[in-house]
Amino acid sequence: MSELHILGGPAGADHPHCWRCGHDPAPEAKEPVSLFCQFCNSLQPPVPDYFAFFNLPRNLSVDLEELQRRFYSLSRLLHPDRYTRRPERERTYSLEATAILNDGYRVLRDPVERAEYVLKEAGFDIGEQRSRDVPPELLEEVFELNMAIDELKSGDSSVVPQLEESRRHFQTMLAEIDSELAGRFTEHDRAPGRDAKREVLERIRKILNRRRYIRNLVAQVDQQLTAQGA
């Protein structure tokens, strides 16, 4: 449990002082930021680094059971319910730390969000990447899909089976993408060194864009099918 408290801060940052007792909260730690002060046990200002928060290696594959165990243990330590009778400053840190913990748990337990987080931390631009461009191999299918949707909108419900078929097809593609992603995750985690990892990340980014595009298609089909009461 105790190693959970050591938090990785930005590399090369100065060792800070505990806001309460003035000591360096974790003088022995290689990475200079810690959740609690070793000397007076006060909660320290939290740093929003999800992997460091959960004390997990920066891998794309995560043991979900272990993640949940750590989430529960950290919740017990950090939750605002535990700080009602503590100084106001510590109450604020507890709120901040728990928000980071919850946000981090949400991101790390979901493979896609986790990968997007790692990409963003590695400096890849993902938020702006609006996948409007149709992946070339899907061009024909998307064209036909749009035609079918138009027909459905104009009241021709004979295209419903075709839409349902497309939906199934896209779902299969999503499943394939997800298993491809899992393979790339392992590849990333095993890659030696920064550059090798970046190369895998670049490929993952492309897969994620494709995935997002297909997911939007599924959502679009779903919306039309429900709107028509089909």
């Binding site: 449990m1 105790s2 408290h5 609690f36 070793q38 007076c40 046990n41 529960y72 919740s75 017990r76 330590l77 939750h79 605002p80 319910d81 535990r82 009602t84 009778r85 503590r86 100084p87 709120l95 728990t98 928000a99 980071i100 919850n102 946000d103 748990y105 949400r106």
Partner: protein, 616 residues
């Protein structure tokens, strides 16, 4: 490094109570040793009706005393005010058809109700109920209560939560936590059982419906999903029955009573009694006596169930959605817990059992279980309970308005709270100084279909070419489900000021103002009462002295003694109309002192005469 926490004893260990502020009834509970207990109301019983009445002198009563005034003084008395908390007048049009609320002019963003000429916002009215509970707890526990946990429907939005917190502040209570009602109920159930597994809490109360699905593991109560309807409850059932009774009466008596407040309340009382009995009997009688006339009709459970079928049905869809959001099938739900008075209805139990394929738990009193859970949460906050922890979620997605009236979601519903999101904003025009951020809550895509929470104004941005300013805005939902917003200028790293304009409800300043006024009022009221009491005492003394001066004992006093009595009398007359009760009391003491000899003489005379009498 140890995981224990040193208690620095910064704040004295004050007792925190748990309050269930319900639509129909409210309760206050505390943890007695290891057992949560509901504090009985002075009138007996544990339920305090959530009813407030304004007396003719402008003061308020709440609870049973207010309920007693519902029929004779319907225009000064309100109930089910929870339905109006944190809402604007257009939100509650439907409710207004059902409830006899008298809305004052100018109630767009904050509703004001007219109670016999006095205008009151829903938080102020709820504060009267909270005050009643606070007094009940103080009398029972023999100590001052200033801190509380208050429960809210899980599906309450930000404005409704804020309104509840405001009500607490207006009642002189520091609201340490708002807890969702179904989650609180799960705490009450899980406490002694040490349960593990997945639990669904079905909470069908007087005015709201909630469903929450939780995972219980090692004392952690993790909410997986929640859903609900803040406008669905026993009230809706009452309305159905009232409509029938009023229609019957109209055709039998040839008189439409639906506009007569007093009659409507009489009918309402009758149908509620019938509804309650129908949970135990297959057939009941609705009996109304009004204006010397009588109305009776039989109501079979069968017909009742037909009447409310669609209302019960409306609770099932949120249950299905909550299961879907949690990624669970009914088979994966281990237990179902029933909360709220409406779960006593056999049809409701049947429907829930059919949906979850499990027999629902009804061991704890469905009216009390939420308050008991609130008491457990209070004990968690005070540190008296250490091994339990509640991890709740936000019921509604939070987003901001973007181009074209579209909502961009920042924090999704069913996210564990506290939760946060950051977004960077910039300017679109050269030299622009302000950026207005419109925050909304809801699941729909378009602004017009979501609930406006507030507008945040980022002010005093350095004048720069368009797109150069970079302001990072952080949205933080705290453990109460309430949003706060902070902003930082990324170029300078400085905190940025944000002005908040809530779309519904009161601003902080308005609440402060109300608190100040109520304190001033309370002081005024108290001072006035003391003056009144002092004058009453003076009246009594003056009358006694007047009488004594006619007594022979008066002449037995020396010249000097008589002069000092007259002087003291003058003194009291001089200050009699003063507004300072101290002055009056001082002169009363002086006159009392000056007339002591006179009183003694009179007493002796009386004794002598009495003795004379016995001799004969």
């Amino acid at each position: 490094m140890g995981t224990f926490q040193i208690d620095f004893g910064e704040s004295a260990r004050k007792r925190i109570v748990g309050i269930d502020l319900g639509t129909t009834n409210s309760l206050v509970a505390y943890l007695d040793g290891a057992t949560p207990k509901v504090i009985p109301a002075p009138e007996g019983g544990n339920l305090v009706p959530s009813i407030v009445s304004c007396l003719e002198d402008g003061t308020f009563v709440a609870g049973e005393a207010a309920r007693a005034r519902l029929v004779p003084h319907p225009e000064r008395t309100v109930y089910s005010v929870k339905r109006l908390m944190g809402r604007g007048v257009e939100d509650v049009r439907e409710d207004l058809k059902l409830l006899p609320f008298r809305i004052a002019e100018g109630s767009e963003s904050v509703i004001r109700l007219n109670l016999g000429g006095k205008l009151m916002t829903p938080p102020e009215i709820s504060a009267q109920v909270l005050l009643e509970l606070k007094r009940t707890a103080e009398a029972y526990l023999g100590e001052e209560i200033t801190q509380a946990v208050i429960t809210v429907p899980a599906y309450f939005n930000d404005a409704q939560r804020q309104a509840t917190k405001d009500a607490g502040r207006l009642a002189g209570l520091e609201v340490l936590r708002l807890v969702n009602e179904p989650t609180a109920a799960s705490l009450a159930y899980g406490l002694d059982k040490r349960k593990e597994g997945v639990v669904a809490v079905y909470d069908f109360g007087g005015g709201t419906f909630d469903i929450s699905i939780l995972r219980l593991q090692d004392g952690i109560f993790e909410v997986l999903a929640t859903h609900g309807d803040t406008h669905l409850g026993g009230d809706d059932i009452d309305q159905r029955l009232m409509a029938i009774a009023l229609e019957d009466i109209a055709s039998e008596w040839g008189e439409d009573l639906s506009a007569n407040h007093e009659a409507v309340q009489t009918v309402r009382r009758a149908v509620i009694a019938a509804k309650h009995q129908l949970s135990m009997l297959p057939v009941v009688r609705i009996e109304v006596e009004f204006g010397g006339r009588q109305y009776q009709r039989e109501l079979k459970r069968e017909l009742f169930e037909q009447l409310i079928q669609d209302i019960v049905e409306r609770t099932l869809q949120p249950c299905r959605e909550a299961m879907r959001d949690a990624g669970l099938t009914p088979e994966q739900i281990d237990e179902v817990v029933m909360v709220g008075g409406s779960t006593r209805i056999p049809l409701v139990r049947k429907a829930v059992e059919a949906l979850f394929k499990a027999k629902p738990h009804t061991e704890l009193n469905p009216d009390e279980v939420v308050a008991l859970g609130a008491a457990v949460q209070a004990a968690i906050l005070s540190g008296d309970v250490q091994d339990q922890l509640l991890l709740d979620v936000t019921p509604l997605s939070l987003g901001i308005e973007t181009m074209g009236g579209v909502v961009s979601k920042l924090i999704h519903r069913n996210s564990t709270i506290p939760a946060s999101a950051t977004e960077t904003f910039t300017t679109s025009v050269d030299g622009q100084r302000n950026v207005l951020i419109h925050v909304l809550q809801g699941e729909r895509e378009l602004v017009k279909d979501c609930r406006s929470l507030a507008r945040f104004d980022l002010k005093d941005i350095d004048p720069l070419p368009a797109g150069m300013a970079r302001i990072e805005v952080r949205f933080l939902i705290d453990a109460n489900g309430i949003l706060s917003v902070t902003a930082r200028d990324l170029r300078t790293g400085k905190e940025h000021s944000v002005e908040v304009k809530p779309s519904y409800g009161l601003t902080d300043e308005q609440v402060e103002q109300m608190i100040r006024e109520s304190f001033e009022k309370a002081e005024e009221d108290f001072a006035a009462r003391q003056v009144r009491e002092a004058r009453v005492e003076a009246d009594n003394l003056l009358a006694a002295v007047d009488k004594a001066r006619a007594n022979a004992a008066w002449l037995e006093l020396s010249e000097e003694e008589r002069a000092s009595v007259d002087e003291a009398l003058n003194g009291l007359h001089m200050v009699y109309h003063s507004e300072d009760h101290h002055l009056i009391l001082a002169q009363i003491a002086r006159l009392d002192e000056a007339t002591r000899k006179l009183a003694e003489n009179m007493m002796n005379k009386a004794v002598r005469e009495a003795l004379k009498g016995t001799k004969i």
